[in-house]
């Protein structure tokens, strides 16, 4: 498929006898915001881990930009353009905000020796521009020398997002970014996700906050017990009988 950025064909993941993900087909078109919802344990985070290469496939194929990701290790997938955030924030707590972004700063092509040297041996001056952008975007510029562990929860979430963006991804997988946020923060997050898409990044949003999902996504796919049970526009999903049955709603007005 020409417009597909990410394609999952019959993707499965088994843990012993448990089928965490069961023959899921999913297509993510370039430039869209796809929502991935489902009850706890339905396999959403597992799919993210499979796409990112942290877990091996038990079956099926994952294609990114038309190419099979096969057994590519996680760091290669990041270089190819896939980035993610974690459900439980996984920042480098003992590193500063700046350093967290610095580690992620990964140019898609690093062929030249000069750029290689600059990246690995250079002090902070060399990479100021490249990190400056995600730093500004996260609104944490004033706190760039603070240890990540000392940030507030909301700031940490913003840093996590900025760090994923610092890797200059084409596809961004957000794993429950709104968890623990209040309404104001969710509205800000909504705005941020739209701005990310406007810059040409495709977004897959895993969330339980239905208002956010309904508001910001173009399409939604629903998982239950590792299988995809529905797919369509937010409105279609809301009134889908199987979805209602599987997923006795977490908020959201009909």
């Amino acid at each position: 498929m020409s417009g597909a950025l990410l394609q999952l064909d019959g993707v499965s993941r088994r843990f012993g006898g448990v089928r965490a993900v069961d023959a899921v087909d999913l297509t993510v078109a370039k430039g869209e915001i796809l929502g991935l919802i489902g009850p706890n344990g339905s396999g959403k985070s597992t799919i993210v881990n499979l796409v990112c290469g942290l877990l091996p496939l038990s079956g099926g194929r994952i294609r990114f930009e038309g190419r099979d990701l096969a057994a590519q290790p996680p760091h290669r997938r990041v270089a190819a353009g896939i980035a993610r955030t974690f459900q439980n924030i996984r920042l480098f707590g003992q590193l500063t905000v700046w350093q967290n972004l610095w580690v992620a700063q990964c140019a898609p092509t690093e062929r030249s020796v000069r750029r290689f040297a600059a990246r690995w041996l250079g002090g902070q001056r060399n990479t100021r521009e490249a990190i400056g952008e995600p730093l500004e975007f996260s609104g944490l510029a004033a706190k760039r020398d603070q240890l990540a562990a000392n940030l507030s929860f909301g700031e940490q979430r913003r840093l996590e997002l900025a760090r994923a963006l610092a890797a200059r991804p084409k596809l961004l997988l957000l794993d429950e970014p709104a968890a623990g946020m209040n309404a104001t923060e969710i509205a800000e997050l909504d705005e941020r996700i739209r701005r990310i898409r406007d810059r040409g990044v495709t977004v897959v949003l895993i969330e339980h906050q239905m208002e956010l999902v309904m508001s910001v996504t173009d399409r939604v796919a629903v998982l239950n017990f590792g299988r995809k049970i529905a797919e369509g526009s937010p409105g279609e999903i809301q009134s889908h009988p199987q979805v209602r049955e599987a997923y006795l709603g977490a908020g959201g007005a009909p």
Partner: protein, 301 residues
């Protein structure tokens, strides 16, 4: 005076040991391999100056290079085991190296005597420095020249992206992978660099003591090697240096009057230190406080 110069030489070589362990510990790998690297560097550099008649600098470089290659080679299988299994694997490596040299003979005739390693007897007559008229002071300065180089290199690394990446790997491998860090490359590189530094230290050690034997490269030495960065705290290379000065300078020398009971005290002191300051003498909190103290009010980075 000569006594203090000798002490300074020991401090320098131990500093290299500590720095070697420091860089690996940053990546979260606990390694007991430093004594083994030290031994390889010592024997190789020694054999090159004594048997092959090389000049000291290329001999040191070659010893360091060989050690780095060995370190690189064992880093790969070491990747397959994590955490505490790595401790055991590196202990076994260190012991294997020691036992290897215990059984290693390579002697040649130099005039009327035989020189070269002789198994359990060790490797005597590593007399490059005396034969070329180096004074104790010159040797000490030579050693510390290398230490300064290593310190500078590691300090600079700490401030660069490489330092941040090393620490990121040490903190959270999964997160590091997920932002594009090649774990294998980082861990193997760290171990290789550590091998180079420890190998250099070993070569210097062989030449200033003029006599090395397998009994010098034991688990105890490997313990000292990781004790320095752990005691000194991993936030800064200078913590390791401070720990070396404290342990070797103050404890080893200052408590020399205790004679044999000294080793006993070490063990007890380590246990005490770990209970009182589990994050090391110069942990992140202390380091920050020190920075603020020296930077003064309104001080910036």
């Amino acid at each position: 005076m000569d006594f203090y110069l000798g002490l300074a030489q020991t401090l320098g070589v131990h500093a290299l040991l500590g720095l070697s362990a420091y860089i690996v510990l940053l990546t979260g790998q606990v390694t007991m391999a430093q004594a083994g690297f030290f031994a390889i560097g010592a024997y190789v550099a020694g054999m090159l100056t004594v048997i092959a008649g090389w000049h000291i600098v290329p001999a040191l470089a070659a010893g360091s290079l060989v050690t780095a290659l060995v370190a690189c080679a064992i880093a790969f299988p070491a990747l397959r085991v994590r955490g505490l299994m790595l401790v055991v694997a590196t202990i076994a490596f260190g012991e294997a190296v020691r036992l290897f040299f215990f059984n290693f003979d390579y002697q040649v005739w130099r005039g009327e005597i035989q020189v070269g390693p002789l198994g359990g007897e060790g490797f005597r007559q590593i007399r490059y420095f005396p034969e070329h008229g180096w004074s104790t002071l010159e040797v000490m300065l030579f050693i510390w020249g290398w230490v300064a180089l290593a310190l500078a290199a590691l300090w600079w690394t700490d401030r660069s992206r490489t330092g941040a990446v090393l620490r990121a790997v040490g903190e959270d491998e999964i997160a590091a992978q997920s932002v594009g860090v090649n774990l294998t490359a980082v861990k193997v590189s760290a171990m290789t660099a550590a091998g180079a530094i420890a190998g250099l230290g070993g070569g210097l050690y062989a030449h200033y003591t003029t006599h090395i034997e397998q009994g010098s490269f034991t688990l105890v030495l490997a313990t000292f090697a990781i004790a320095y960065p752990i005691l000194g705290g991993l936030s800064s290379v200078f913590g390791t240096l401070a720990a070396v000065l404290f342990v070797q300078g103050f404890l080893v020398e200052g408590l020399r009057f205790l004679g044999d009971w000294r080793n006993l005290l070490f063990g007890a002191l380590i246990v005490l230190a770990m209970n009182l300051r589990p994050r090391g003498l110069l942990d992140a909190a202390t380091a920050t406080r020190l920075k603020r103290l020296f930077a003064g009010p309104g001080g910036a980075r």
